[in-house]
């Protein structure tokens, strides 16, 4: 069809010097707020909304979109350097990225994140341009049963996230599921585990939990070692990827991009799964799964690509149907409305310059991000040479300010301290925080979709196997369990065999 001419129109808008300038401002701001732990794109976009009043619609929205994917980018920087993820997706990057940094490979880790994100962003932008309307239609066939089955699949596959004891990983997932239940039940309004505090009615804030169990716990752990204050980098080797590194990241980036692009289209929580799913896939496919969690470059390349691809394709339901996939998208809807455009099925026909301009600007934004970030890697890495006694109070302060800025809820700040201590205790017990966060993020979604599916089917559980997409997903989940169990069964049988021999 006239994809070429549409893209041509888009690029004529996106390459307008003023729009390039605002796109650059957007991605720069996004990177900065992404790097400051806790201050996420939601708070930034909310603060900048009034400024965008005076700009033309395309320019304003291009800048705001830039903040969003810029922040995705910046968030992985802190996850890698100081183990402080600002968003659920970056939590996965922190697992191996931070270990790479500790091994002196912060440079290659950051470069991998940048290149993987760029590639994924480019592919996803093309997908968005070519298939947005049909993809959005397809996503609508996902109802509650389908989402439930998808999340079951995600949870089962993601037990691979842990690199120690499976039992401890399961315990952490369950703890995460419990933490996810805090707050008002949306079905009946009954408060759960809120201790009578209305501040907890909305549930625990993801950023508080993530900053606590990852960042603050890590700081506590570092501080216990009085003599070794030069945390992190023992010796920074090279800043750039070796030929071997390139060879290792090619497939993870491709797979991550594919997974992320597909999951990002689903408005009911697909983007949350993307980074977790990609990490699990890489670990399963790796010849050395035991090395994951100790600084595997594949563990950075896959999730970072998946995350960025999903960030881009999550614009599909927004721009074609007017449906926000998550809070930042809801804010973007607000921005559209303030500009006098109501997002929905009509935007593509009534405002083609705007629609295609934003899509084209995403690619421009990705180019700008790479240009901006690659030279910065040296600077970021040098940040690690700041004496720890100066660095850690700064991290704590910024994390507290950032978290507070989201909802102006002081309990979110208390939660950081609480989960910092919990996280430290968990590290001491040899439990890992990643499965906990997975449970925390997916638990509420799992419950919501399960209960909704059951309400709509009027209590009939067969709905999960009679709907084809749901049945397929559950079958895949079963397959994942079988594959996970098979080798150990075989190994046991072999052991038995050996002993008998």
């Amino acid at each position: 069809m006239d994809l070429i001419s549409s893209l041509g129109l888009g690029f004529s808008v996106a390459l307008d010097p003023i729009n390039i300038l605002y796109c650059f401002i957007g991605v720069l701001l996004g990177t900065l707020v992404g790097v400051l732990p806790g201050i996420g794109p939601t708070a930034t976009i909310a603060m900048l909304l009034p400024i965008t009043f005076s700009l033309p619609a395309e320019t304003a929205l291009i800048m705001l979109a830039g903040i969003y994917y810029g922040a995705q980018y910046g968030g992985s920087t802190t996850a890698i350097l100081i183990n402080l993820p600002g968003e659920s997706s970056a939590a996965v990057t922190a697992i191996d990225g931070y270990q790479m940094a500790r091994n002196g490979r912060a440079g290659p880790a950051l470069a991998t994140a940048a290149l993987g994100s760029f590639f994924a962003g480019t592919v996803a932008t093309f997908l968005l341009a070519a298939f947005a309307p049909p993809l959005a239609r397809a996503a609508l066939s996902f109802g509650a049963p389908e989402y439930f089955s998808l999340i079951v699949l995600g949870l089962l596959v993601s037990i691979a996230l842990a690199h120690g004891s499976v039992l401890k990983a399961l315990a952490m997932i369950v703890l995460g599921l419990l933490l996810g239940m805090v707050g008002q039940d949306i079905y009946t309004g009954t408060p759960r585990f809120t201790f009578g505090l209305r501040e907890l009615f909305g549930g625990l804030n993801f950023v508080s939990v993530a900053v606590g169990v990852f960042g603050i716990a890590e700081i506590l752990r570092n501080l216990e070692d009085e003599t070794e204050r030069d945390v992190g980098i023992r010796k920074v080797t090279n800043l750039w990827l070796t030929r071997e590194d390139f060879r290792r990241i090619v497939w993870p980036v491709l797979r991550g991009t594919g997974l992320g692009a597909v999951l990002g289209v689903l408005p009911g929580g697909g983007h949350v799964l993307s980074a977790f799913a990609s990490y699990s896939a890489e670990k399963r496919l790796s010849k050395t799964p035991r090395e994951f969690g100790k600084g595997m470059i594949e563990g950075v390349a896959g999730p970072e690509s998946a995350n960025n691809a999903a960030a881009q394709t999550s614009f599909i339901p927004l721009m074609t149907l007017g449906i926000p996939a998550h809070p930042v998208m809801a804010l973007m809807i607000g921005a559209f409305i303030l500009q006098g455009i109501t997002p929905g099925p009509n935007v593509i026909n009534q405002q083609p310059a705007l629609f295609w301009g934003i899509i084209a600007s995403m690619w421009v934004g990705n180019v700008l991000l790479v240009v901006l970030n690659l030279p910065l890697i040296g600077l970021w890495v040098r940040m690690l040479s700041i004496p720890y006694r100066v660095l850690f109070p700064a991290i704590v302060v910024f994390a507290a300010i950032g978290t507070f800025s989201i909802n102006q809820n002081i309990y979110d700040v208390y939660a950081i301290a609480f989960f910092g201590i919990v996280g430290y205790a968990l590290i001491r017990f040899g439990c890992e925080p990643a499965p906990l966060l997975l449970g925390f993020v997916l638990g509420p979604l799992l419950e919501e979709h399960l209960r909704r599916a059951m309400i709509i089917s009027r209590g009939d559980p067969s709905v999960f196997v009679t709907r084809p997409i749901s049945a397929t997903l559950l079958a895949l989940a079963l397959l994942a369990v079988v594959i996970a169990v098979l080798p150990s069964i075989r190994r046991k049988r072999e052991e038995v065999f050996v002993e008998e021999d």
Binding site: P50, T188, P324, L338, Q408, N409, R458
Partner: protein
């Protein structure tokens, strides 16, 4: 907990009283940026309404207005924060119908909507629309009512959880028909709309801010608007009364408040500024795009808002009790 809050409140009241005794404060007002608290997250319909009004009011007052989102607990966290803010006219609250339903829905509300605030004026009354998935059988509102009476709980009705506008509308509808449908709650009407578009659920009742574009695009079916008059954005959609549903009126009204004890001269100034803002072409146009309209100038007054709040609080206490919802 409660005690500290009431102490705080007392301190705030005292501070407010001391401040208003200071005559000069009103004359210089506003001497610094004003904050309007929105008790919902950024990007939602209430936030959008607030930002549009704030922009126009700030031009009139010659001061910057900062919109602060304090979300959570059905809007009661933000309202509580506004109730305890200094009564100097620099912290205001823009809340919707939830202001009047909160006393019926929450047990231990740390503020009283009617006595802890000084009303400034109504802002807009957003109509609701009764909508259904595209391939839902009934063609008209009359068909729909018959269909609901006949099929009752076999019909799935989406709402955005306890206390949400969509839930209130459903309560009223079921109350009027004296029947029950299967209520399916969502985290906000955004995801509910997704499922309605995908045909996963049967019907919903939501604000025009959320439904107008989908109706215009023919993606969903609209049966009625819940206001006495048809609305400009949807001229073909009949009113509930036209379609045979008598006494079914519901609008999501939004009001602007200051903490109680704010200097009456300041409240007067803010009310005048609100009226000016609502009369601007930009606000009228943006509201029209959202399927709503600014209230007339005589409604953007402290008295009109106080009256609205009082009658609505009474109404919802009855409806909520009739629906058998226990306050949390």
């Amino acid at each position: 907990m409660r005690k500290t809050i009431s102490t705080l409140l007392a301190v705030a009241l005292a501070a407010g009283a001391a401040f208003s005794a200071h005559g000069a404060a009103a004359q210089d007002y506003p001497a610094q940026p004003i904050t309007i608290i929105v008790p919902f997250s950024a990007g939602g319909p209430t936030d959008t309404v607030t930002r549009l009004v704030a922009q126009a009011m700030s031009e009139d007052l010659g001061q910057q207005i900062v919109v602060q989102n304090v979300g959570g607990a059905g809007g009661t966290l933000g309202a509580a924060q506004a109730a305890t803010a200094a009564a100097d006219g620099y912290t205001l609250l823009l809340h919707h119908i939830g202001m009047s339903t909160a006393p019926a829905l929450y047990q231990s509300l740390p503020y009283d909507p009617q006595t802890d605030f000084a009303p400034i004026g109504l802002v807009t009354e957003v109509p609701m629309t009764i909508v259904a998935r595209r391939d839902f059988e009934p063609e008209t509102l009359e068909d729909l009512l018959a269909h609901i009476r006949e099929n009752g709980e076999n019909i799935t009705y989406a709402n955005a959880g306890v206390g949400a506008a969509s839930q209130l509308c459903g309560m009223l509808l079921m109350d009027a028909l004296d029947t029950r449908m299967t209520e399916v709650p969502y985290q906000g009407t955004g995801p509910a709309m997704t499922d309605l578009l995908g045909g996963q659920i049967d019907m919903m009742c939501d604000q025009t801010t959320n439904t107008t574009t989908q109706i215009q695009a023919g993606e969903i079916k609209a049966y009625a608007v819940t206001t006495p008059e048809r609305i400009d954005a949807l001229p073909d959609v009949p009113t509930a009364a036209e379609g045979g549903l008598e006494n079914f009126e519901l609008a999501i009204w939004h009001g602007l408040y200051a903490p109680v004890g704010t200097d009456p001269a300041i409240v007067e100034r803010l009310s005048a500024s609100l009226q000016t803002a609502l009369a601007t072409e930009t606000v009228a146009q943006s509201f029209a795009d959202l399927g709503t309209a600014p209230v007339p100038a005589d409604q953007a007054t402290p008295d009109a808002l106080a009256e609205k709040l009082a009658t609505q609080t009474e109404l919802w206490a009855e409806v909520v009790a009739a629906a058998g919802v226990t306050p949390q």
